[in-house]
């Protein structure tokens, strides 16, 4: 009886691990898409609304779900006059990154965007935002590809690993 419970626990743990890794594969393209939407909104705020950056970031944060909302909120809060824009943005990206499913390549893209954010005329801002969006789009395609390849695999791998351990042990 106890054996059976133990076996079920192992099986369950394996499955859960597989699902959680698989969920990260599914979250990354989703969050990248949300980030793309956010940058699209930022472009509108800058190009048409001429909204000051901290206000624009705060507005975007209000309309987004976590964990990305935290990043924008944090960035807006960091622009308090004690540090330059790029530093504020970089701090926010780094502070919130752990809570997201996104990876290093998109972090690089965002930090590089931060170096020009707010620092030039709107024409130039649009160029930088478009470039960042193009690169995020590429990452999103990669992420979707990875999701197709690995998400299912990790799910079944979790169950199978659990089963394997059960078989080996009992």
């Amino acid at each position: 009886m106890l054996d059976l419970i133990g076996a079920l626990c192992v099986l369950f743990a394996g499955t859960a691990l597989g699902f959680s890794i698989s969920a990260r594969y599914a979250d990354r393209p989703k969050q990248l898409r949300l980030m793309l939407h956010a940058l699209q909104r930022l472009e509108t705020e800058i190009a048409y609304g001429r909204t000051p950056l901290p206000e624009a970031l705060a507005r975007i944060a209000e309309q987004m779900g976590e964990p990305l909302a935290a990043l924008f909120r944090n960035a807006a809060a960091q622009m308090d006059g004690t540090r330059p824009t790029d530093e504020a943005w970089r701090n926010a990206v780094q502070a919130c990154w752990k809570q997201t499913a996104m990876k290093a390549p998109e972090q690089d893209v965002l930090i590089r965007l931060g170096q020009s954010l707010g620092g030039s005329d709107s024409e130039d801002q649009i160029k930088h935002l478009r470039l960042a969006m193009r690169m995020l789009k590429m990452e999103e395609e990669n992420a979707a590809e990875d999701q197709r390849k690995y998400a299912k695999m990790w799910k079944s791998l979790g169950v199978l690993c659990g089963a394997l351990v059960v078989i080996l042990v009992f």
Partner: protein, 329 residues
């Protein structure tokens, strides 16, 4: 004065806070140049500031703002959003909360031979705006047209940094509230005043609302080109008096004529050293010879003591002169 601290990087505002007590109220300019000595102007004289915020003559001992200071300053001035100030950067200055004007120099970006943008900004000249209520008190009776119950067409002439803008701000306030000590002792009716504030210096509007006291019956067209703004005022706001800073372009003259036809009084300012100076300037010369202005007020230098107002009539004859002491001097 304190409002200017809000746009200074932490290190520089800390230095200025340590400035000797008697210098702070007379601070006129703060000049920040990347990698070069921090400079302030007090009562028309310049000083460098050392790392303890003490004035010094030696450029070697002076504090030198670094790249980070300048970047934070730029971010504070623009609220991290250069793209909201494209027009201002093209003209080379921005006005910040509190009416302080910040002149900028850096690398210009040209488009078809005209300045399109300013980037890599490494020189900042922060001119501190001050509201001096009553700055025009002694002057107002001399400019008042008791018969018409309003001010005469007046041109105020002075070199930069002598308080032209402070003066017309107070003229606007006095006319708008009816706070004028007339020579005959009669009360003066509050008038509708229209300010065309191209550089946002007179009223220092934030989101359309003046931060300086320009009177209860005053309308402000903020950030509007002068000539166009005067026409808009005439058409839309039916002011009794139009107040405008630093005229000197041909289209300004046209707008002034238009205002005259509409029976509106004009108070304007112009850069210049003396009456003869402006009588020789291209567009102003015409206005002078047409005797448009009934009074000219020339503001003179008196470092530290106060200001000298010389008042001329429409023919350029000096009819009065007065010294007005600074409130705190």
């Amino acid at each position: 004065m304190m409002t200017v601290m809000n746009v200074l990087p932490p290190r520089i505002s800390r230095l200025l806070n340590r400035l000797p007590r008697d210098m702070l109220p007379d601070l006129e300019e703060i000049r920040i140049r990347e990698g070069r000595p921090l400079e302030i102007t007090v009562q028309g004289r310049f000083h460098y500031l050392d790392a303890d915020g003490q004035p010094t003559r030696s450029a070697d001992r002076a504090y030198r703002p670094d790249r980070e200071d300048c970047r934070i300053l730029m971010d504070l001035l623009t609220n991290h959003s250069v793209y909201t100030l494209e027009e201002e950067l093209k003209r080379g200055y921005i006005t910040v909360s509190g009416g302080h004007r910040v002149g900028l120099a850096g690398k210009t970006v040209l488009e078809q031979g005209r300045v399109k943008h300013l980037k890599e900004i490494a020189s900042f000249n922060i001119r501190i705006a001050r509201e001096v209520r009553g700055a025009a008190r002694e002057l107002m009776p001399k400019l008042y047209d008791a018969e018409a119950g309003t001010i005469r067409h007046t041109l105020i002439v002075s070199p930069p940094q002598q308080g032209k803008t402070t003066l017309i701000r107070d003229i606007a306030r006095a006319l708008s509230t009816g706070d004028i000590a007339r020579e005959d002792g009669a009360p003066s009716p509050p008038l509708k005043v229209g300010i065309v504030d191209e550089r946002s210096e007179i009223a220092a509007c934030i989101k359309g609302v003046p931060t300086f006291d320009v009177g209860p019956r005053t309308d402000v067209l903020d950030g509007c080109p002068k000539a166009e703004g005067m026409m808009m005022m005439i058409r839309a706001m039916s002011p009794d008096v139009i107040i405008v800073d630093e005229i000197g372009r041909p289209e300004d003259a046209e707008a002034i004529h238009e205002a005259l036809h509409a029976g509106i009084r004009i108070v304007a300012t112009a850069h210049g050293q003396s009456f003869r100076d402006i009588a020789g300037r291209p567009m102003l010369r015409e206005l002078v010879s047409e005797q448009i202005f009934q009074r000219y007020v020339v503001i003179g230098h008196t470092y530290g003591i106060g200001r000298v107002f010389r008042i001329y009539d429409r023919d350029g004859r000096m009819i009065d002169a007065m010294i007005v002491r600074n409130a705190h001097a």
